[in-house]
Symmetry: D2
């Protein structure tokens, strides 16, 4: 039960980089990670549902478009009504990350929706767990410069390529969250 | 500019009844109403985008599935990034309704998402405007028995047909909201 | 570390009954419980801060007034900036309950605020974990009749005495949550 | 009815500067403004309640502490249950601003709470109405650099004096919002 599943949608290649950073963090803490991609039609493979059911924890990821997770992510969430009804994810750890072009851009609304989804499934939500970097001397690539609390916030300017995209400090924050999540999962028997 | 557009998704026929009740209310207040259906693939017709652009106010409607509006509604919301970028809906009135099987069922999260969507578009959100019915003598079909504030809450038990579905008091609440919305739109020059 | 602290504010005596039901549930699962009362000025005793620091999990409780937890609860939350900065509650389990006069009454907003507070502290949020009772045959005193997911929702009609107040099914739901919370805490090493 | 009331709490002198910028914007659009200060005990003067009742629109303002508006603001909100019950603020325009030390810091949660409060009162919420500045060339003092949508977001680093505090671009955004709010109020007959 020490496997962490990361199920995410990425529209243009930025969010996948956040997913990979979270995955790196999970691995660095000694846990196994399964990356599940929601495709451009909002689908995952049949086998992925089994992977999710077998995981000890599930981390949700998506960009924020028009103030919430894109429809492809929501299609996945809607399809999770089957494991929801059968309580397949009950008592698993849950977490989340999101990326958008601006500093805020209602990323907090996306994370709230993920908390609600996780709560419907009867899961336990793992917060970010890092103080914000918010003094006058704060620099863009400090850990949690964006000042999140519920999960990982990442920013990719609207005209940035995926290579430029999620800024290095946000990717570090994502790595730290993956590591934290795996560490908490290891304590949960 | 006294036209109210109601754009909604209905999965099984319950939410359409709430949409019709809101539409009745709009008409009863002397305004024109355009009902726009989001189809099972999350699409509206090309002409519908023009209707939305020309409307004085837009009311969003959907069921609540897994704690938020279904993916089909979100696909519509994502597609609205075009009028968003061009500020086509700026300063229009906005409103919303949602239906789900239980008393709460995170309907409030769906309405919050609609407020966020409307805010991204630069709109003005019209609240429900009715005190809850919450004394010991309260009856299920009192106006606003469900105790909403941000928009219309409707409930259809999970095994109810659309005919049984949204309970009569909730439909009355929806009618009242349509009328209120049209009345406020008439005051907005 | 198997102690659960329940820190709550009750305005007129209804919410205290929900707190006691949650406490009963915690005890029934074999854990120790500490009930901490936020007084009418929004204060707790100095020793209570130590109790909170030593607890394995903290459950927050309050009525919902004007769409969120009352000022007395928020005064407690604001005062928690000290343990927040020192990360004294980091990695503890967190949970919440709220009571108001109507079915909804924006109780969901109160629970969201509690999730945000817990997240700022770096805690793990324990969801309700019970399917809603939402068929045509549903009865008012079924478990989770109110259809919550993030935490415990309770309803006390506006003119009810505390004895009549939180309806029996809601108190059962609260007991179940206390038991669930303690069970999860026991698994968390 | 062209008076805009701004009712705010400021803990250390930063939020008052945002309030003044919003007020400047209101005045620049030709409307009258009334600034109402919530004191350190969460109180406003008796006459202020009359001012609020007579205003055409009310803009709420506060810092974000521990993920939401401070207790003093909530005490004011709780005290507004009197005009709430008498529907004294029904159909007025509403708006909001908040300030905190980090980029996000759950400022969005504070604005959501203000939307809920306004909705309980039956008001119409005025969104920010400005696209975010989010390209690679974006600069800290661009309008809406923080990427808000529901209302005004301002940031004051944790160790900044009120003079350094809310950054100039955020104050410009606040001025723009005041002007927008007054312009919309003038159109609402």
């Amino acid at each position: 039960m020490s496997t962490v599943a990361i199920v995410y949608f990425s529209g243009y290649g930025h969010t996948v980089r956040v997913a990979q950073a979270v995955a790196d963090g999970v691995r660095s803490a000694g846990a196994t990670v399964e990356l599940i991609v929601i495709d451009q039609e909002g689908q995952i493979k049949d086998a992925d549902w089994t992977t999710l059911e077998n995981a000890g924890g599930i981390i949700f990821g998506s960009p924020t478009y028009m103030g919430n997770a894109p429809w492809q992510f929501k299609r996945f969430a809607d399809a999770s009504s089957k494991p929801w009804y059968a309580r397949k994810w009950q008592d698993k750890l849950a977490g989340g990350f999101t990326n958008s072009a601006s500093m805020n851009g209602d990323k907090g609304s996306t994370l709230q929706s993920m908390v609600t989804l996780a709560s419907q499934h009867g899961m336990l939500w793992v917060s970010l767990g890092v103080l914000p970097s918010n003094s006058k001397a704060a620099e863009r690539n400090d850990p949690n410069f964006l000042g999140g609390s519920v999960g990982v916030l990442a920013q990719s300017p609207s005209d940035s390529s995926p290579e430029e995209g999620p800024l290095p400090g946000d990717l570090d924050t994502a790595r730290g969250y993956g590591s934290r999540f795996a560490g908490l999962l290891a304590r949960f028997k």
